[in-house]
Amino acid sequence: MKFKVNMVLKYLKNRFVITFLSIGLIIGIWSIYVQYNNDGIITGKVVDETGKGIPNATVIIVEELSGGIQEPLTTRTDGKGNFTFKDIDYIEFIISAKKSGYTASDKIRYHLYFKRENFKIPKPLVLKKGS
């Protein structure tokens, strides 16, 4: 038994084994992470200049490919200014928001690490008052 443990330890110290085990481990952890975060849900918030959520604003998301702009998808914000897109399988997209009585927000580009990644827009989309 002791002999077998020593043999295993000896193989585990081998640089080939260490390298390929490490690569396998990283790929394994990454695959598990992807499995648990691939619902394609993109969330965020639309706010005014004071930081207050704007209800019923239109949020537009469009996939960006180097071949050209694709068909946009839209959704509306809830009472607190939050929005959610579901089943989005983009890898790079542009998001913006608009509402009558406000000037449209900046168009912001985001890149994801894998398709259908659950992503929370880090900065809220800001609408300024005015036409």
Partner: protein, 279 residues
């Protein structure tokens, strides 16, 4: 300070100078690699002036694009399968050829001359017969077909020959007296004693196979059978030459070769040096 101390200090001063020069040269040699890594992480235009030495906002998005723009995993798998076939066949065939060339037999010198002569024939001139043979064997568009011309790399036969010659002939003779067949002698005696030669074979055959472009380009018709160098050339049509994605792809192509070399370099250098001190 006596003479010995003086000499030591003079030498150590010279050593420091030599090392500083070597470090400087090493940095110069590493600059292209550094630029490759930096551009792949930032996507900065390589022609930007003044060039920034430190990467700004590094990320892995260019690598992600490589994965999604082309079937990278498929290409990687194809390259790996072909390389594994090439490495294994090189170890088997080259060790057998090297073992045979250590023995005395009629026409040995002529065979060695033919081997050495064939090194001088460029692959491009043998492409048509190689293609016809591969076609007749029904190996077009297959991994085996891609590996076929690299089944035995002649330079590696001589690496094995040199290594086997260093093994005492008494060991081989006693094995022969014990009734061991030749293939078992190679497998049980000479190969385990020639680890540096195996490492050299692994590195060289892997390198040749991994970077092989022309042969796969000729015999592969199906996109799913393409290897990484073919994928890289296809990738050039999607992105500008200066874009970060191209550099990310280049890193992904080069990384396995560097990894294999780093893992086997100790034995590889040992094998290279072993030939240098022979009389």
């Amino acid at each position: 300070m006596n003479r010995i101390h003086k000499k030591y200090f003079n030498n150590s001063g010279r050593n420091i100078f030599v090392h500083l020069v070597l470090i400087l040269i090493s940095f110069v040699m590493l600059v292209p690699l550094y630029w490759l890594v930096k551009t792949s992480l930032t996507g900065e235009n390589i022609y930007i002036y003044p060039p920034s030495l430190i990467p700004k906002n590094p990320n892995l998005y260019n690598f992600v694009d490589v994965y999604y723009w082309i079937p990278f995993a498929r290409y990687f798998l194809n390259s790996t399968i072909v390389s594994v076939i090439v490495v294994i066949s090189n170890i088997i065939f080259n060790s057998m050829a090297g073992f045979a060339l250590c023995r005395s037999f009629p026409g040995k010198k002529a065979i060695i001359l033919v081997y050495l002569g064939s090194i001088m024939i460029p692959f491009q001139t043998t492409i048509i017969p190689a293609f016809l043979i591969t076609k007749r064997l029904g190996l077009l568009n297959t991994h085996l077909g891609m590996a076929l011309p690299l089944f035995s790399i002649i330079i590696c036969i001589f690496v094995f020959k040199n290594s086997f010659e260093a093994i005492p002939s008494s060991l081989i003779d006693s094995a022969r007296i014990d009734g061991l067949p030749d293939w078992k002698m190679i497998y049980k005696i000479t190969l385990p004693l020639s680890k540096p030669a195996i490492a050299t074979n692994v590195i060289l055959s892997f390198l040749y196979s991994w970077n092989s472009f022309l042969w796969p380009l000729i015999i592969i018709r199906d996109r799913n059978m393409q290897t990484l160098p073919l994928g890289l050339s296809r990738f050039f049509s999607y992105f500008e030459q200066s874009s970060g994605q191209i550099y990310a792809f280049s890193i992904l192509v080069v990384a396995p070769v560097i990894l294999v070399f780093l893992l086997s370099q100790k034995s590889f250098i040992g094998s290279m040096l072993s030939g240098a001190v022979k009389g």
